[in-house]
């Protein structure tokens, strides 16, 4: 009988990816509701220090799945390793954080079991001992409750922010078990990770940020946002398409591939609010969104919103702010 919950712990060179703790928090909630034990799994060539670190959390066991071929991440290596672990444990549920690394190998892992993942979930709940996962569809415009039918294991990934890392409960010290996993041929050769250019601007220190998205339409229109930024004493930032188009340099990109910021005021102009953008700015103090689409997901996290044309709103906003600042 399949039993228990496996949770995958991600790291780079032994350094924990904090999103893993969010998955641990999710696993603990589901574990309590389903009366199932949790096994955390660390994969690597020598991840014993990290396995010990994870043993501090309230899990039944930590498995340190080792093999010399796992020194660098490769999808071939990690899939083989996790397949070995999942087959050995025969769990009910396999949970992973929806990171770029997990996106790269977990579908392959699930496919080994003739399945796909219930990917990028924002929450999960249990009723009558069956789990309902919720995921965003249509770029965040709608939510879908997804249930799993058929044989275990069920594979699911949690979106960054689905749970908070500090929700992961500490325990009394779980047992760590080291196992050697079978890893077959690894076909891809990774080079060392690198950063493109030393980031010239550090937006994480900014007090106020004015961020522009595709709604700004052209590079020339950036002047509008610049004037607002100037009036506010703000730094200018952008969503990905603006940096892809090179209207602003890449070090001004906010989001999962760019910078993570938490200014006291974040003004989003013509940004739809895709999850990859939101993860980079949702902890800002006050969030303002100006967008002509009332359904844009950015409004889900905004404190103040204007549903309307940014080309009408922004010049007026700039003038009004100048007036207020001039008077005070």
């Amino acid at each position: 009988m399949s039993n228990g919950i496996v949770v995958f712990i991600e790291h780079r060179n032994g350094v924990l990816n904090k999103t893993s703790l969010e998955a641990v928090a999710g696993a603990q909630l589901l574990g309590s509701a389903l009366q199932q034990e949790i096994t955390a799994v660390v994969v690597g060539s020598d991840a014993s220090a990290l396995a010990q670190e994870i043993a501090a959390y309230d899990v039944a066991k930590v498995i340190n799945a080792g093999n010399a071929k796992l020194v660098d991440y490769t999808p071939d290596g990690y899939t083989d390793a996790m397949e070995h672990v999942v087959k050995q444990l025969d769990p009910h549920l396999v949970l992973l954080p929806h990171t770029y690394l997990v996106r790269d190998f977990a579908p392959k892992l699930a496919a080994r079991f003739g399945k796909s993942l219930i990917s990028d979930c924002i929450r999960a709940g249990v009723a009558d001992s069956s789990i309902t996962f919720t995921r965003r569809i249509f770029l965040g415009k709608l939510d879908a409750d997804v249930v799993s039918d058929g044989e275990p294991p069920v594979f699911a990934t949690f979106q960054s922010g689905a749970y908070r890392p500090d929700q992961a409960r500490k325990g009394n010290g779980a047992a760590v078990e080291g196992i050697t996993v079978d890893v077959g041929e690894i076909r891809m050769t990774p080079e060392a990770p690198f950063q493109e250019v030393k980031q010239a601007v550090d937006l994480s220190k900014a007090d106020i940020i004015v961020a522009v998205g595709r709604g700004i339409k052209s590079k020339d229109n950036l002047a509008l946002a610049e004037k607002l930024a100037e009036a506010l004493g703000a730094d200018l930032a952008a969503s990905r398409p603006i940096c892809d188009a090179e209207w602003l340099p890449i070090d001004r990109q906010i989001g999962s591939s760019g910078q993570t910021v938490a200014p006291k005021l974040y003004v989003a102009l013509g940004i739809s609010g895709a999850i990859q953008h939101l993860v980079g700015m949702k902890n800002s103090g006050t969030i303002v969104a100006i967008n002509k689409d009332p359904e844009a997901p950015i409004f889900d996290i905004a404190d103040y919103g204007i549903v309307g044309d940014l080309f009408e709103a922004v010049p007026v906003l700039t003038e009004e702010i100048k007036k207020i600042k001039g008077a005070s």
């Binding site: 579908p107 496919a111 549903v307 309307g308 009408e312």
Partner: protein
């Protein structure tokens, strides 16, 4: 290099989405459709590799007859021929079943490279390419932002989180999932549009085994997201009035200016 590009048709980005009566999906009857964004970049990348290394670009799309518009557009931009996996309800298959149907359709083509977008704009599973690679026995890389292919080797630049990147080298045949925004997508020329009319579009239907296999995941309900914050909407449709109000609120209520 013979390259297959997988392209999915999805609801138009700006379309107003209405939830269907059963609350299991959206009302598709009166929707307009377009190609999923990252798939467009996958095609562009394939055309660029072909320009360098010769060979053929074959576009493959799955869905009802309406997906022919995605195929025609790809052919007009320069793809050489197309495979259409036809069926009315294929959009709702699980990523595993989708990948199985696609594997069946392209296996005999023996491509050197398979390109897909990194995730679709509707379901957003982000899995079909990777599962397909597994089913075809190919090595893969995801979130690819640069392809450096030569006759001897394939080197690709992958995006990692927070401004980090990494190069991977792998043998061909291989499958790559391509990130959006990595190039300037070409337009179809008038000549391209004319030429597309003569290009081959092969229709295939997926085997019943794949389509009828019980799904292991299923949508129980679709609904509008719950808001995590109480947003104060200002201006009531008048953007300028909203801006005046906003400046006041930021000053006196939020006290951030």
């Amino acid at each position: 290099m013979n390259i297959i590009v997988l392209m999915k048709q999805v609801a138009n980005k700006d379309a107003i989405l209405r939830i269907n009566k059963e609350a299991t999906w959206i009302e598709e009857g009166d929707l307009s459709f377009e190609v999923s964004e990252s798939d467009g970049y996958a095609l562009e990348e394939a055309l660029r590799v072909r320009e360098k290394l010769q060979g053929e670009v074959v576009v493959c799309s799955m869905g009802p007859q309406r997906v022919k518009s995605v195929i025609k557009d790809a052919l007009a931009r320069g793809a050489d021929r197309a495979i259409h996996v036809v069926g009315d309800n294929l959009g709702h298959l699980s990523p595993y079943a989708t990948a199985s149907a696609l594997a069946e359709a392209i296996r005999d083509e023996k491509p050197d490279l398979v390109f897909t977008g990194l995730q679709s704009d509707d379901y957003g599973y982000g899995q079909t390419g990777v599962i397909l690679a597994e089913l075809l026995g190919l090595p893969h890389a995801t979130i690819v932002i640069e392809v450096d292919a030569s006759a001897e080797r394939l080197r690709v630049k992958r995006e990692l989180e927070s401004g980090w990147y990494q190069w991977y080298t792998m043998p061909t045949p291989a499958l790559l999932t391509i990130q959006s925004g990595i190039s300037q997508i070409r337009y179809a020329t008038l000549k391209g549009i004319m030429a597309a009319k003569k290009k081959e579009v092969k229709e295939v239907t997926p085997s019943a085994e794949i389509v009828d296999r019980p799904a292991h995941q299923r949508i129980a309900r679709v609904y509008l997201p719950q808001k995590s914050k109480q947003t104060q909407l200002l201006g009531n449709g008048d953007a300028k009035a909203g801006a005046v109000e906003l400046a006041q609120k930021l000053h006196t209520e939020a006290r951030v200016i």
